[in-house]
Symmetry: C2
Subunit: 418 residues, 2 copies
């Protein structure tokens, strides 16, 4: 895939795929909630909502009607390190999609009345997340893992921090967040590379530069949180430090998580669910930011089993850290590589992945190169990584549920570190 | 797509797709929780869990390890009218996937100790669903819509009904549920049709016939349910009768739901969220079974807004029932047709859809035929359908949330029927 950089820094990448009748477009800014200080928490997400209320000459209704009238859809997502605007459409929809997204990203109206109404909508989104235990417990763990840092605060912010945003401050925030040298235009499927380039030049080539917000390195502080709630189940998210996307041990971390709890043949699924029946849902994941990360396990369990389950997770982490059997590493590698291929079959994932890689690595990684990097990981790499992460002697367990489940957080830490 | 029927009734369909490096296999039985009387509620889902505990000569661990070791995955899902076993794998995984699934479907071990342990796992799955308000409110609405019928009971069953299942009764249930004349083998992607046929013949060709459970027509009874729970938000599912998949008005129903609340340009999204800020999430859907269906709206809203929102949904349904503007119908058609194309880009969806169509219509519907059927719907068809559904004067609203939200269910019915 060839990457073209416009004069103002906007990068453009096309991934044309024969045989597809539709396309996916992703315009992604390599900034997000991680840029927010405490007072601005949630502003990036609020801004992403607000651009849909009016942009360029388009009303809120026009923005979506013009795309949906032709069978397309437009969406957006705000993360800690990336904000993406995504269009799915039939093959003839590239120009329209690009024009609409250019308005959203560069010329949002940010009307004050709309802003006050949208704050109420986001308040409901915050309430909806709080009502969903297996969402909320992740927020708790994130806050414990990265205490007093942007990565530890919810992307949605809070009613209090959103109250401080007005049209002028959001406009200034937009200029920084979506500045052209942090912006990528990526399209996959039924797209013509020349057409995409010409559109990008015309629609994004004149976007004005803006100073970046300062970069603050992230620090996995650790911490333990146990919150009582009257629920049928206990919900646990048990995390350890991980590594960032550019860390040489990145794939070792992914493979560790895969072997630990990545599929039905993983250690946690086999032990906790199949052998002991301690949980219905249990899985492990690796989350990596630019310079930091997490290894995490989510589980839902009967309150009476929560402590036992947390201990089992700690024990399995320690066992895997000591030595990973060759067949388990081979299986983790096969799983991770296959998921690469399968992800490439979805156009939306394909466009988004190219954008994410450009933003993280300044280039698009060929699938074969990723597969080679995965294959190159040795058992000793996993052992070294695990020793390094456990050596920090920090964890961030979060438990949400009935009172008798709450000791599980402490039991996890005690089983890990004595 | 050519459909081959084996001597014992098993149907086989292949959808080879050039350019794909992976495949999706779906072995689907056209039966599910709808076959269960009250005492057997949840048995189909429990059986689907149990086959993974051991089948043929394979242990629980072997079943998943053998597939996952080569980068594949195996899953299953139980619905009211269909139970599916799905494999995703690289191109070389067809034979292994078929062999494993044949064991799961035809030769599960159903060990009594495993069964008792698995009942505890399903109990946790039931508890997890109860903890998730935007899952649970759908169960409430389903129960109100189809009171005292299998379609009104949760697919998961209850601890009480699962207690009644033993190995022998599950074995008998399996023979009926997965009988060959209700079974479809469907594969898409990097598959060879001749290989698939040969494998199906060898692995499923000798499966023994079994009498079917009797078919009881479904009846949308209607009913109202309001359940108090201490939550941040009120969660609403507001339903009306719909039509079955073989009803001539099927696509009119789909288009009605699409226009009502299918995208960001839909009436409900524009009115409830964009103009009034009454909800963060709101959307409409059509659910169709063989002979019955539902038109539904889900919304999450602040408790104080729930009543107003329910009334607004009723008013928008009535307005749309009177007349649908040409541009709104055109947009709904474009959306529905585009979603057809996009769904075909995912191999798992493609294999599953072919299986579902064979089970429902005894043939696979060409995409072009579906697109034509959608195009043929006239505004008068929607008006006629709406008059028919509203004419039943039955609704099934469900509200879950704080006390002051609970009157919303009644307000919905009053606004609809006076």
């Amino acid at each position: 895939m060839r990457v073209t950089t416009l004069a103002n820094g906007v990068r453009v990448v096309a991934d044309p795929a024969p045989g597809y009748e539709t396309l996916a477009l992703s315009v992604a800014a390599g900034r997000g909630a991680r840029q927010e200080d405490e007072a601005r928490s949630g502003w990036s997400h609020l801004l992403e909502h607000m651009v849909f209320k009016g942009a360029g000459a388009r009303s809120a209704r026009d923005i979506v009607e013009t795309i949906e009238a032709r069978g397309g859809s437009v969406n957006a997502a705000t993360g800690y390190e990336r904000t993406s605007f995504q269009v799915r459409s039939l093959a003839d929809g590239l120009q329209l999609g690009m024009e609409v997204v250019a308005d959203l990203v560069l010329r949002p109206t940010l009307d004050p009345d709309d802003l006050e109404r949208e704050k109420l909508v986001v308040a409901q989104e915050i309430a909806e997340a709080a009502d969903t235990p297996d969402d909320f417990v992740f927020d708790l763990a994130q806050g414990a893992a990265f205490a007093d840092q942007p990565l530890g605060r919810p992307v949605l912010g809070s009613e209090a921090t959103l109250a401080g945003a007005d049209s002028a401050s959001l406009a200034a925030w937009r200029a920084r967040l979506y500045a052209p040298d942090r912006l990528v235009v990526s399209a996959a499927g039924a797209v013509d590379e020349d057409e995409l380039l010409a559109l990008a030049e015309r629609l994004f080539g004149a976007a004005a530069a803006a100073p970046d917000t300062p970069f603050h390195p992230a620090q996995f502080t650790g911490g333990s949180v146990a919150q009582r709630r009257s629920l049928e189940q206990a919900h646990l998210v048990l995390t350890l430090p991980g590594v960032g996307v550019t860390d040489p041990a990145y794939f070792a971390l992914r493979l560790f998580a895969e072997a630990l709890g990545g599929g039905m043949s993983s250690r946690l699924f086999q032990e906790a669910r199949e052998r002991l029946g301690l949980a219905y849902a249990i899985d492990a994941y690796a989350e990596s930011y630019q310079d930091a990360g997490m290894l995490g396990v989510y589980a839902g369990a009967a309150a009476a089993n929560a402590g036992k389950l947390a201990e089992l997770v700690a024990v399995e982490i320690l066992k895997l850290a000591e030595a990973i059997p060759a067949d388990e590493l081979a299986r983790a590698k096969a799983q991770l590589k296959a998921s690469l291929f399968m992800a490439r079959e979805g156009l939306a994932a394909r466009a988004e992945q190219a954008a994410a890689q450009l933003l993280a690595f300044d280039r698009v990684l060929p699938t074969a190169e990723i597969a080679e990097a995965i294959d190159a990981v040795e058992p000793a790499d996993l052992a070294r990584l695990a020793a390094r992460l456990l050596g920090e002697r920090r964890a961030a367990p979060a438990v949400l549920g009935p009172a008798k489940a709450l000791a599980a957080a402490e039991r996890f830490e005690r089983a890990l570190f004595g």
